[in-house]
Structure formats: structure tokens, C-alpha cells
């Protein structure tokens, strides 16, 4: 049992805050159940909701820990799988069986259904942390609920009465668990890592501890496609540099090295790929009541800004590799080298703006937005400024995870506030005055932050030390 205990302890060691919060939620739910025994106030349903909410977060964390733990070497530990199964059984008892049993004992109907639904929630939490597309299985429910809310409610009532619902939910849970756990428990050759500065939007999840998430066949094919575009772009850049070895060609070459998937073909491919998912999102969200079409631009800005936190993490992880680049470039001064890097990364700003524009256009087309020009204008101005700020922040920003997370939150909240403020101002003052005013305020702020950030980055000495854990 020592090994099972050690496995059970992992969330507490790895994610103590999450573990503590979620355990408090679990304890509060148990308290509600106990309170309901002697009280006339029925808190059973609230307790169940709390359990479901906590279970979702807990299993997202558990999924991340499993991803870190289930490496081929771990399977050399005796009975690793059996002990993992025991830990899963304890987990299921805590988050599924006990709450379902208490709900049943305290008079809530459909105990089996509750158990199956809680298992589904746990499975969805697990799959959400895996970067697996099985996590998208939840989307059809939202789409149907968005399109036909009355139908969804009627279906829910019928489902509650049907004896088939519980086994069906159980089957769905098992399917999701199978899809999420199978790649983790399968011993496979490790995927080759991409550049740490690369956008993670393809895998829909971050590398954990430098370990790329296990990829499915489709992901592998996609990555292969991206790699081919990178190779082609590098070949072109090399040819161009050999023909005319100027500063611009050199910068392109450095970009091809650091940001291999940010060549024109790969950008087009990524836009298409993300657009497909955005379309699904719109199909899910468009039929909701009180849907605000202007949210499309804000969402597009949010989506493109998601690239920069990965850049911040990647800039730390790539440090040891940059020593080689430093020696290759042989700069006269540290500042010159830092400037070269900053200039190379500046390409991310137009790429972000282009992406935001593309997503906004797609959104406009899908939602038949009433004021497309206003949305586009706001998106272009705000994304340009926000990208400059985000790039500067991640070049010189805090090293710690907490500090970076806080900086990200500030940047994203600031960008969202700017978007809505800008959108309102353009609406109130018109395209020329409103747009001009927003552009002056946002861009002057963005450029000021960028130039200050760039200056600070150049002032700093380059670091080639591997980041600490």
C-alpha cells in the first residue's frame, strides 16, 4: 500500500493549492450531506453540484500528473499499473461512489444516474488535461443545447426517466477514459520536441516538464506537414541568404531557426486549422440567446494573445540552445545579440494581427455581424498594441511561474478592456475620430512599452543557463 499512498500523494506534492482547494470543496460537500441528514434544509443537490465542480478540477490536475508520471521508465517499477489502478479505485470511491451513495441514501433520485454522471465528469476532467481531441466529445451537447434549448430540456427530462441513460452515460465515460488513458498507458517512442518557442495551439496543451504530450495519428500527420513547410521555408531562406547575405536575409534565417512554424505556408495551415475549431465554437455559441456578435473580435484577440505566454516559457527553455546561436552569430556586443533576437521575434506581432483579422473575418461571416468594419478596426488596433505589449512583457517579464501567470492575466485583461473600450469609442465617435483616437492611445501605449521593453532586453546580458525546475 506504500506505493498506492505515494501515488495518491502526488497531487498534494505537485499541485498543493489545487489539492487543498478541491479537498475543501469535497469536505464542504460532505458537510452538506451530513447537514441534510438532521436538517429540513435539503442541501443534497448543492452538495452534488459542488462535488461535480470539484471533481472536474481535481481530475484535470490528476490528468496532468498522470501525463508526467506515465513515462516508459515508470513502467519498470514493479506493479506500477496495478498500483495505479488501486489509486484510481480510491479516487473513484472518493469522487463517484461515495457521493452517489450518500445522494441515494439521503433521498436524491437516480443514484445510478448520478454515479454515471460523476464518472463522466471525472473522465472529462482527465481528458481535458491530455490535449486529446476526445475532450471535444462534450461539444455536441452544447451545440444541441444551443440550437434547440427546448429540445435539450425535453431530452433531459426523458433521459432522467429512462433506465438506459445511466448505462449509456457509463459507456460514454468508459469511452472517454479509454481514449484519454490509452495513449498514457501505451509505451511508445517519445515524440520529437518542437521548438520551445513554437505555438502550442496544435496540441491544445503545453509541454509538461519538457515532455511533449502524446500525439495521436492525426496530430502526428499535422506536425509532419508543418515540419515540411518549415524545411521548405528554411531552404528558401538559406538560398536567399547565399545569394545576398544581407541583414534582412540573416534575420529571416534566424526566424526560420527559432520559429520554424511561423513561415507563410505554416501560418496559412494554422489559420485553417484553428478556423475549423472556431467554426465549431460558433456553431455551439451562435444560437445562444443574447449572443453579442461583437464578442467575436474580443475572442479573436484573446485567441492570438494566447501565443505569447508560450513564448515566455519557451524563452526560458530555449536558453541553452541559444548559446549555439550566440556563437554562430558572433555578435560584437551582448546588446547587439539581444537586439537581433528581439528583432527576430518582432515578426510575431504582424503574425498575431493577421491571425486576429482572419479569425474576426471568419466570425463576421459566421455571425453576419452588423458592424464588421467597426469590429475589424478595433481588432487590428487592439491586437497590434496588445501583441507589442505581450511580446515586451515576455521578453523582460518575471521568471517565476506565478509572476508570469500574473503578467499574462494583466495583459489579457488589459487587452480585453481595451477592445471593449475601443469598440465603444469607435461606435460613439465614428471611424475617423473614434478610430484615430483609439489608434493613438493604444498604439502609442503599445509602442512605448515595446521600445522600453526592447531597450531593457538589450541592456540585459544574455543568459544561457537552463531554467531551474
Amino acid at each position: 500500500m506504500k506505493a498506492v499512498w505515494q501515488l495518491w500523494l502526488q497531487p498534494w506534492k505537485r499541485m498543493p493549492v489545487l489539492a487543498a482547494l478541491v479537498s475543501l470543496m469535497w469536505l464542504a460537500a460532505m458537510g452538506m450531506y451530513l447537514f441534510s441528514v438532521d436538517s429540513e434544509v435539503d442541501l443534497n443537490a448543492a452538495a452534488l453540484g459542488l462535488i461535480a465542480f470539484g471533481s472536474w478540477f481535481w481530475h484535470i490536475g490528476q490528468g496532468q500528473i498522470l501525463r508526467e508520471l506515465c513515462r516508459p521508465e515508470s513502467f519498470l517499477m514493479p506493479d506500477f499499473l496495478r498500483r495505479l489502478t488501486w489509486t484510481a479505485a480510491i479516487d473513484a470511491a472518493q469522487w463517484v461512489l461515495l457521493p452517489a451513495l450518500l445522494s441515494g441514501l439521503l433521498g436524491l433520485p437516480h443514484a445510478w444516474l448520478i454515479a454515471a454522471a460523476l464518472l463522466c465528469v471525472a473522465a472529462l476532467g482527465l481528458v481535458s488535461s491530455q490535449g486529446r481531441r476526445a475532450g471535444l466529445l462534450i461539444w455536441p451537447i452544447f451545440i444541441v443545447a444551443g440550437w434547440k434549448p427546448e429540445l435539450a430540456v425535453a431530452a433531459l427530462h426523458i433521459a432522467l426517466q429512462s433506465p438506459l441513460t445511466a448505462p449509456l452515460l457509463l459507456l460514454v465515460a468508459v469511452l472517454i477514459l479509454h481514449l484519454s488513458l490509452r495513449p498514457l498507458l501505451r509505451i511508445d517512442d517519445r515524440d520529437i520536441e518542437t521548438s520551445p518557442l513554437e505555438s502550442m495551439s496544435l496540441d491544445r496543451s503545453n509541454n509538461i516538464g519538457g515532455t511533449p504530450p502524446p500525439r495521436g495519428a492525426l496530430s502526428k500527420r499535422l506536425v509532419g506537414l508543418f515540419d515540411r513547410t518549415s524545411q521548405r521555408a528554411l531552404d528558401l531562406a538559406l538560398r536567399s541568404y547565399r545569394q545576398q547575405p544581407g541583414a534582412r536575409q540573416r534575420l529571416t534565417l534566424i526566424r526560420r531557426l527559432l520559429l520554424p512554424h511561423d513561415n507563410p505556408l505554416a501560418i496559412a495551415l494554422r489559420l485553417t486549422w484553428v478556423a475549423a475549431f472556431v467554426t465549431i465554437y460558433f456553431f455551439a455559441a451562435i444560437h445562444r440567446q443574447h449572443f453579442n456578435a461583437a464578442v467575436v473580435g474580443a475572442y479573436a484577440t484573446l485567441l492570438t494573445l494566447g501565443r505569447f505566454p508560450q513564448l515566455g516559457r519557451g524563452m526560458q527553455r530555449i536558453r541553452p540552445n541559444l548559446a549555439d546561436l550566440y556563437l554562430t552569430l558572433a555578435p560584437t556586443t551582448h546588446a547587439q545579440y539581444q537586439k537581433t533576437l528581439a528583432d527576430a521575434l518582432l515578426i510575431l506581432v504582424p503574425i498575431s494581427v493577421l491571425s486576429a483579422v482572419a479569425y474576426t473575418l471568419l466570425g463576421i461571416a459566421l455571425t453576419h455581424a452588423a458592424e464588421p468594419v467597426r469590429m475589424l478596426m478595433t481588432t487590428i488596433i487592439v491586437t497590434s498594441a496588445a501583441s507589442l505589449v505581450a511580446l515586451a512583457v515576455h521578453l523582460i517579464g518575471p521568471e517565476s511561474t506565478l509572476g508570469r501567470t500574473l503578467a499574462n492575466i494583466v495583459v489579457i485583461l488589459g487587452a480585453m478592456a481595451s477592445y471593449w473600450g475601443g469598440y465603444w469609442l469607435i461606435g460613439a465617435l465614428g471611424y475617423v475620430f473614434g478610430g484615430g483616437l483609439v489608434a493613438i492611445i493604444a498604439l502609442s501605449f503599445g509602442l512605448s512599452v515595446w521600445f522600453a521593453g526592447q531597450r531593457e532586453y538589450q541592456r540585459r546580458k544574455p543568459s544561457f543557463d537552463a531554467p531551474m525546475a
Binding site: 506493479d79 509505451i187 525546475a469
Partner: protein, 309 residues
């Protein structure tokens, strides 16, 4: 494609197994990465109670072979038997008997050394806590430090502690000393030799530091062209392999034909030949016939590796 070695290959398990059964048996093992074939129908058998030094050039497939043997990398075809049972996936009681030091230890960087060892120890029936404490102390590993903060050499030390502590019957070491300083390497070799003195302990040891294999008196297995070319005791290799040097003032246009010749180099006035089981009388007669002086040397393991790998 280099030619096959014209060597009289001894039976794969030349050294007798202690209990009559090899610890590890491999039949027709093949493995490729995409279109690159790394291991080609390998047949290999590792007897119990021996130290096997797995030699091969960079990219020969040593790491891949070791990972396949332990089920850490899926194979394309073939069969592997570990402790007499098919190794389809790592599992079962036999895992208590296996220790592994990977080439690079990049596991669990967020864990502290003590927490990691406690975590791992919980899985094993035989975990030598005294040995762990002694090695942590003598190898100056701070149990309170996070693995991610350790240097590469310190991580390798930790991986060795982790692999030895369960007192494994089979210890698989993938270039374990590559990042160690000389003191640590010597200390590690002392521990390894101590381990191999116990009956029935088998070590498979991939390394480029041939002096370590000489110290451990290992059987040498050479991996080349995706195959194990031979597995032979070091003493036997030393006994049968000799460097024959024929020297004459006018030099050599072509290599003189000698029975058992494995490799030949012409360097200035000298023809340097690696010969298996050289017949001294015939060689002396040949030297007289060719008007050359004859010198016979016993090559070091490193020399043999350079010539054969």
C-alpha cells in the same frame, strides 16, 4: 554498407549460464524509426552472473536495443525473453529484479531527491535504504534539492542510486558514467563490482569507456550494422586477437595475405594487421619471405573497439 566481420563468432552465450537459463534471450529483434532500420533481426543471449559490455559506435543502436530489451520502446518484430518470460510489456514480479540507468535522466524535475527516492522505494520489495543513504552521502547528493536543479552528473548519480537500491538481479546501464567526474566514476565502478560479486547478478553495460569494462572483466558484445556481431569474454578476446605489425623500408603497396586477418591498415613503412588466432611460425616465415621485421602486440580493448566497431 560495411562488410560483415570475417570473425569466427562464438556462440552468443559463450559463457555458461549459472542456472542453465539465460537472463535475457532475444530472437530476430528488429526495430526501425520511420524508415531507418536500427536493429536488424538481432539474436542475442545474456547468461546469468556476467557483466556484459555493450559496445558500438554512436548511432549503432545501443540505447534503442537496451530500451527494447526492457520493453521501453516498441519493437517491430522478434521476441524478447526476460527471466524466461516473454517481454511483451514491462510488468510482473520480475520488475523487482531489474534496475535501469537511462542515458539521460530527465524524469520528474519538480520532485526533490528524497521525495523521488521515497516514491520509487515504495514500489520495491527489496530496497536497500542503508545503501541509498550511504550513496547519497558519499556522492554528495542533497536529498532536499529538486531534481531539476541537479547538474547532469548529479542526475546520473541519482539514477544510479535509484537503479542499484532495489538490489536488482539484472542491471541495465546505458552509458551511466558519461557525465560523471573521475571520482564519481571510480566510486560507481566500485559499487558495480561489489554488486557483481554477488551470485547471479547480471549487468548489461553500454559505454564508450572501455577501461571500465576491462576493470569489470566484462564479456564484450559488439553492436554493428544493427546486429550483435559477437559476444565474447574479454580474456578470450585478448587471447585470440593480436596486432601484427610488419615493417620494411620500402613500405607496402598491398596488405600481405594472412589467415585470420580481420582488419588491415598501412601506415608508412608498417602494415598493421588485426589477426585472430595468429600462427606465429607462419608469420615469422612470411616476414622473412617479405623481407620485413615482425612485431606482435596485444591490443587494448579500446584498440579492438576502434578496429572492429
Amino acid at each position: 554498407m560495411p562488410a560483415e566481420l570475417p570473425i569466427a563468432i562464438a556462440a552468443p552465450n559463450a559463457a555458461p549460464a549459472l542456472d542453465g537459463m539465460p537472463v535475457l534471450r532475444v530472437d530476430a529483434l528488429s526495430k526501425s524509426f520511420e524508415k531507418r532500420q536500427v536493429l536488424q533481426a538481432i539474436d542475442w543471449s545474456v547468461p546469468a552472473g556476467r557483466v556484459i559490455g555493450l559496445l558500438g559506435r554512436n548511432g549503432a543502436g545501443k540505447t534503442t536495443l537496451l530500451r527494447c530489451l526492457l520493453g521501453l520502446s516498441p519493437i517491430d518484430s522478434g521476441q524478447i525473453e526476460l527471466f524466461g518470460e516473454p517481454m511483451i510489456e514491462p510488468g510482473g514480479e520480475r520488475m523487482h529484479r531489474v534496475g535501469f540507468v537511462p542515458q539521460s535522466f530527465d524524469l520528474f524535475p519538480w520532485m526533490k531527491v528524497r521525495a523521488y527516492l521515497d516514491f520509487t522505494a515504495a514500489f520495491y520489495a527489496r530496497w536497500d535504504h542503508a545503501l541509498t543513504a550511504r550513496l547519497l552521502d558519499s556522492w554528495q547528493l542533497d536529498p532536499r534539492q529538486k531534481i531539476g536543479q541537479l547538474s547532469q552528473g548529479q542526475r546520473q548519480k541519482l539514477a544510479i542510486v535509484r537503479a542499484i537500491a532495489p538490489q536488482p538481479d539484472l542491471l541495465v546501464l546505458d552509458e551511466p558514467v558519461a557525465s560523471l567526474d573521475p571520482q564519481a566514476r571510480r566510486a560507481f565502478m566500485a559499487e558495480l563490482l561489489e554488486l557483481t560479486r554477488r551470485p547471479g547478478k547480471t549487468v548489461i553495460f553500454s559505454t564508450h569507456i572501455t577501461a571500465d569494462l576491462e576493470r569489470a572483466d566484462a564479456d564484450i558484445a559488439l553492436l554493428r550494422d544493427g546486429r550483435i556481431q559477437f559476444t565474447r569474454p574479454l580474456a578470450e578476446l585478448r587471447e585470440c586477437m593480436h596486432r601484427v605489425i610488419l615493417s620494411r623500408a620500402e613500405g607496402w603497396l598491398e596488405v600481405p595475405p594472412i589467415a585470420g586477418m580481420l582488419k588491415a591498415n598501412i601506415k608508412g613503412h608498417e602494415a598493421q594487421l588485426l589477426v585472430e588466432h595468429p600462427d606465429i611460425e607462419n608469420l615469422q616465415a612470411l616476414a622473412v619471405q617479405l623481407n620485413a621485421s615482425l612485431r606482435i602486440e596485444t591490443p587494448t580493448l579500446e584498440d579492438l573497439f576502434v578496429e572492429l566497431a
